[in-house]
C-alpha cells in the first residue's frame, strides 16, 4: 500500500526547505551539541582539566574565572563550568521526559477523543478544559510542595502531568481532520482494524503539528523547571541544575555576578534554540506556505 501522496509531498518539501534555512540549522546544531553534552557531560566538563562538579574547595569560594576554571567558582568553591555542563543533563532530561509524558498522554487522549467522538470526546474534552483551567505553574508548585523527595523524575512527571492539555486539543483537532479524509475511509472500507488505521493512517499524518508543539514545549518545560527550582520547589541539592545555580547566584549577584551569568546564559541559549527550532519547523510545515 502506497503512502498517501499529499503527506509525502509536504514532508519532502518541508525538509528541503529546512536544510537551507539557517534559522533551523543553527539551533539544530546547537541542540545536537547540547544533547551530546547531556549524554557525556564528563568529557565536556573535563575540557579545561577540572571536570568534577562535586570537587569543591571553600577557599576558592566566589573566585572569578582563572586558568582551568573558565567560568570561575561558586559559593561552595565548586567549578562553575563543570556544574553548568552537568546542569545541562538535568535540564534536558526534565525537558524531554516531561514532554514525552505529556506527549503520550496527549496522543492517547487526543486520538480517543478525535477518532471516536461521542461520549469519549465529550468526557476527554471536558477533562482537558478542567486541566487547562489550572494555572500550570501554580498547579506544579502545589503538587511539588506535597512531594517529599524531588528528583529529576518526580519533577518531570509533575510537569508532564500538567503539560498535556494543549497538545491533546491539537491532537484531537488534527485527528478529527484526518479521520474523514478519503484514504482513511478507504482503509475502513477495506476492513482494516482500528489500531492499524489509527497508527498507520491517522497518527502518521496528523502528528506533525503536535511534534512541532512538543518541540516548543520542551523549551517551556525547561524554563518551568528552572523557575520552580529557583522558587525552591523544583530540584534540590545534591541534584545539579541550572535553576539551583541561578538561585544560588542571585543571592551573591553583587559580589560574584559570574555565578549567575553563566548558568543563565546556558539556560537562555538552550531555550532560545529549542523555540527557534520549533518555529522553523512550524514555518516549514505550514500548509499555507506550501501552496
Amino acid at each position: 500500500m502506497a503512502r498517501p501522496a499529499p503527506a509525502q509531498r509536504t514532508r519532502r518539501s518541508g525538509g528541503q526547505r529546512l536544510r537551507r534555512d539557517w534559522t533551523f540549522v543553527g539551533p539544530a546544531v546547537l541542540i545536537g551539541l547540547l544533547l551530546v553534552v547531556a549524554l557525556v557531560p564528563g568529557f565536556f566538563a573535563g575540557l579545561f582539566g577540572h571536570g568534577d562538579p562535586r570537587v569543591c574547595d571553600l577557599y576558592s569560594s566566589q573566585l572569578g574565572p582563572s586558568a582551568g576554571h573558565p567560568f570561575g567558582f561558586d559559593l561552595q568553591g565548586c567549578d562553575v563550568w563543570a556544574n553548568v555542563i552537568y546542569g545541562t543533563q538535568s535540564s534536558i532530561a526534565v525537558g524531554l521526559m516531561a514532554t514525552a509524558i505529556s506527549g503520550v498522554i496527549a496522543v492517547v487522549l487526543g486520538t480517543l477523543a478525535g477518532f471516536n467522538g461521542g461520549w469519549a470526546d465529550w468526557l476527554i474534552s471536558r477533562l482537558t478544559e478542567v486541566f487547562l483551567g489550572f494555572p500550570f505553574l501554580l498547579a506544579a508548585i502545589v503538587v511539588l510542595n506535597s512531594i517529599g523527595q524531588r528528583t529529576v523524575f518526580t519533577v518531570a512527571a509533575v510537569l508532564g502531568l500538567f503539560g498535556w492539555p494543549t497538545m491533546a486539543r491539537l491532537v484531537r483537532a488534527s485527528v478529527r481532520q484526518v479521520r474523514s479524509l478519503d484514504y482513511v475511509l478507504a482503509a475502513r472500507t477495506m476492513g482494516l482494524g482500528v489500531w492499524r488505521i489509527v497508527t498507520r493512517y491517522v497518527l502518521a499524518n496528523g502528528l506533525t503539528p503536535v511534534l512541532i508543539l512538543a518541540t516548543i514545549s520542551i523549551g517551556t518545560v525547561i524554563v518551568a523547571e528552572s523557575s520552580l527550582t529557583y522558587l525552591g520547589v523544583g530540584l534540590a541539592p545534591p541534584a545539579i541544575s541550572w535553576g539551583l545555580q541561578i538561585a544560588d547566584g542571585s543571592r551573591y549577584f553583587q559580589t560574584a555576578p559570574h555565578m549567575i551569568v553563566f548558568p543563565s546564559l546556558f539556560l537562555s541559549l538552550t531555550v532560545l534554540s529549542i523555540i527557534m527550532l520549533g518555529e522553523a519547523l512550524r514555518a516549514a510545515f505550514d500548509p499555507k506556505r506550501l501552496q
Binding site: 562535586r54 559559593l75 561552595q76
Partner: protein, 532 residues
C-alpha cells in the same frame, strides 16, 4: 522558646548584658529618617511580635528589654551587676535573699515591691495559666506541685516575703548561678504591677513595666508598630533616646533594605549576608558577640554512629575556618568548646584535636572504627537561610571522608521536629541560645535528660555529667564553678554526642545616626544606645 533551635537572627535571644561598645562610623549626622522633629527618636525592625507580657512571649525580647529592668545584668567584663536588685545573696546556695532597691516605680507609679515579684512568679509558675516562659522557675521549691491540670496550690512554697523590699527564694538544689538566672534573658522573672492581673489582655497590649521606657500607645495588632518613650521617673541609668518605634517585619531582607534606604535605623542581618552587608554598610554593620552555639547532633538510633570515633571523625572532617570565611565571611566563631567564646568561663580549646580540621586524621579514625556505609543525611530547616552552610558541611564530609553525604531541608520547624522523632536522618542541625550568661543554661538544656534542647543533642544524658553539673552549680565561687564546668565539658566531649561547630555573633545594620551600639548578649541594648 528557649528556642534553641531558631535560626540565625539574634533578635529572639537575650541573656545578660555584656556591654560591649562599638563605635559607628561616618562623620556627618544625617536627617532624622523618621521625619519627626524629635532627634532622639529611632525606628527599629523586629520580627513579628506575639505577646508583650514578659512571662508569655516567644519573640518580643527586643521590645520587652526596653520596657522592663531585670534584677541583675552583666557588665562589659562579664561581672554581675545589680539592677532592680540591691543585692542577691545566699549562704548555702539554696536559700537566696533578694533585696530590692527602694523608690523604684512601675510606669503607672506603683512602687516595685517584693509582692510585685512574688505575685507575678506565682502566676507564672501556675501550670494551668500555661505561660510559655514558666520553665524559668523550674528550680524553685514548690514549682512541681503547681503543674498539671488541677494543682492543689496557687503559690510557690519556695517564695517568702520578708518585708516590702526583701524576699527569699528557696531552690531545690544548691545553685550559685542563681543571680545570673535573674538577668535580662529570663524575661519571665520580670515583675508585673498589680494592674496587670486586673486585665491581662489589656496588659498584653499596654504592658506597664519597671524599665527605662514606657509604652506611648497601646499595641493593637501583630503588624502594628510598638512605640515606647523614655519613662521620666526611671531610677536607673537614663537612656539617651527619647523614643523608640519597634516595627515588625516578616522578612529580614526587607528590613535590611529599609536600613539601606534610610527608612529605619536598626535591623538584624542574617549571618549569611555578612559579605554583602559589609560591602554596603561598611562600619555601619555591627557584629555583637552572643552566647549561642551551633551544633550538629547525631541520630541516637542510627547504629552507624554508635562508635564515638565515627562521631569524632565527622567533627575533624569539617573545616570550620573555611566555612566561616566562605559562608559567614568570618562573622562567626569556629567552636573549640561546647559554649560560645563570649560565655563567661568558656573553656576554649577543651574540644582539642576533635574540633580541629584534620582530613587525614578523620579518615584514619573513621577507618579504625570500621568505616561507614550508606547515605548520610544532614537534616536542617529550610527557609532559615542555612542552605549554603549545610551544603558546605555536606561537601566537606563527602570529600574528606569519601562518603555519600547529602544536606536535606525540612520544609519548616514542625517537619524538622517530626523527622527528628521519626529518625529519618543521620545528623541534625542544633543550636542553643543561652538565656543567661552562664554555661549552666547551655549545658543543662542540651546535655541533661530534662533539658529543653535535649532532643537536639540526640537525647544525650550521662549520670556522671549530671553529678558534675550539680557540683558545678553548687560551687561556692564563680571561679570554682568555671573549673568544674570545664570538667563537665570534658566529660561530655569524651562521649562526643554532638559536633560543636560555631559560636554565634549577631549582625546589626545601623543608620548613619547611630553612634554607639551596646550589646545585651548579642541583642542591641537600646537603653544605652547613643546617637551622634
Amino acid at each position: 522558646m528557649k528556642l534553641s533551635i531558631r535560626a540565625g537572627l539574634g533578635v529572639a535571644l537575650a541573656a545578660a548584658l555584656s556591654l560591649g561598645l562599638t563605635a559607628c562610623g561616618g562623620d556627618s549626622p544625617s536627617d532624622d529618617p523618621t521625619g519627626g522633629a524629635d532627634s532622639a527618636s529611632i525606628v527599629v525592625a523586629t520580627e513579628t511580635i506575639d505577646h508583650l507580657t514578659p512571662g508569655n512571649h516567644y519573640s518580643a525580647y527586643i521590645a520587652i528589654l526596653s520596657l522592663f529592668t531585670p534584677l541583675t545584668s552583666l557588665t562589659q567584663d562579664e561581672q554581675l551587676e545589680y539592677q532592680q536588685a540591691e543585692s542577691v545573696t545566699s549562704d548555702d546556695g539554696i536559700t537566696w535573699t533578694i533585696k530590692l532597691r527602694s523608690g523604684w516605680t512601675f510606669h503607672n507609679g506603683e512602687p516595685v515591691t517584693s509582692d510585685s515579684y512574688i505575685d507575678s512568679w506565682n502566676y507564672l509558675a501556675y501550670g494551668p495559666n500555661a505561660w510559655v516562659n514558666s520553665g524559668q522557675l523550674r528550680g524553685v521549691v514548690g514549682f512541681d506541685e503547681m503543674q498539671g491540670d488541677n494543682p492543689t496550690t496557687k503559690t510557690l512554697s519556695g517564695l517568702n516575703k520578708v518585708d516590702d523590699l526583701t524576699f527569699t527564694v528557696q531552690l531545690k538544689t544548691a545553685d550559685r548561678q542563681f543571680p545570673f538566672q535573674l538577668s535580662d534573658g529570663q524575661t519571665g522573672l520580670y515583675p508585673l504591677p498589680k494592674a496587670a492581673f486586673e486585665d491581662l489582655e489589656a496588659y498584653d497590649q499596654f504592658p506597664i513595666g519597671n524599665g527605662p521606657f514606657q509604652m506611648a500607645t497601646a499595641w493593637t495588632s501583630d503588624s502594628s508598630d510598638i512605640v515606647v518613650k523614655a519613662y521620666p521617673d526611671y531610677k536607673g541609668t537614663k537612656p539617651a533616646l527619647e523614643q523608640i518605634t519597634f516595627r515588625p517585619y516578616q522578612d529580614t531582607n526587607t528590613a535590611y533594605t529599609d536600613v539601606l534606604a534610610g527608612n529605619i535605623d536598626v535591623a538584624a542581618v542574617a549571618s549569611g549576608k555578612n559579605a554583602i552587608a559589609q560591602q554596603e554598610l561598611g562600619d555601619r554593620l555591627h557584629t555583637l558577640d552572643a552566647p549561642g552555639v551551633d551544633l550538629l547532633g547525631f541520630n541516637p538510633n542510627d547504629p552507624r554512629f554508635a562508635d564515638v570515633r565515627v562521631r569524632q571523625a565527622f567533627s575533624m572532617a569539617i573545616d570550620r575556618a573555611a566555612i566561616n570565611q566562605a559562608i559567614f565571611s568570618n562573622s562567626q566563631i569556629p567552636a573549640t568548646s561546647l559554649t560560645s567564646s563570649s560565655m563567661p568561663g568558656d573553656p576554649a580549646g577543651v574540644c582539642g584535636r576533635y574540633c580541629e580540621f584534620d582530613p587525614a586524621g578523620a579518615k584514619a579514625l573513621l577507618a579504625e572504627a570500621g568505616g561507614l556505609t550508606g547515605q548520610v543525611v544532614l537534616l536542617y530547616v529550610g527557609g532559615w537561610g542555612q542552605e549554603d552552610l549545610f551544603q558546605a558541611y555536606a561537601n566537606q564530609l563527602r570529600q574528606n571522608l569519601e562518603l555519600d553525604v547529602v544536606a536535606t531541608p525540612a520544609t519548616d520547624f514542625a517537619e524538622f521536629q517530626e523527622r527528628l522523632q521519626s529518625g529519618d536522618y543521620a545528623l541534625n542541625r542544633a543550636r542553643w541560645g543561652a538565656l543567661y550568661p552562664s554555661q549552666q543554661d547551655t549545658l543543662h538544656s542540651l546535655y541533661t535528660a530534662a533539658g529543653d534542647g535535649n532532643f537536639a543533642a540526640g537525647g544525650y544524658h550521662n549520670d556522671e555529667v549530671d553529678a558534675l553539673l550539680a557540683q558545678a552549680d553548687a560551687a561556692d565561687t564563680i571561679e570554682a564553678s568555671f573549673a568544674i564546668y570545664r570538667q563537665v565539658q570534658e566529660r561530655i566531649l569524651a562521649d562526643f554526642p554532638v559536633i560543636p561547630t560555631f559560636g554565634n555573633r549577631y549582625l546589626w545594620a545601623c543608620s548613619e545616626r547611630i553612634d554607639q551600639v551596646p550589646s545585651a548578649a548579642g541583642t542591641v541594648y537600646f537603653a544605652r544606645l547613643t546617637l551622634k
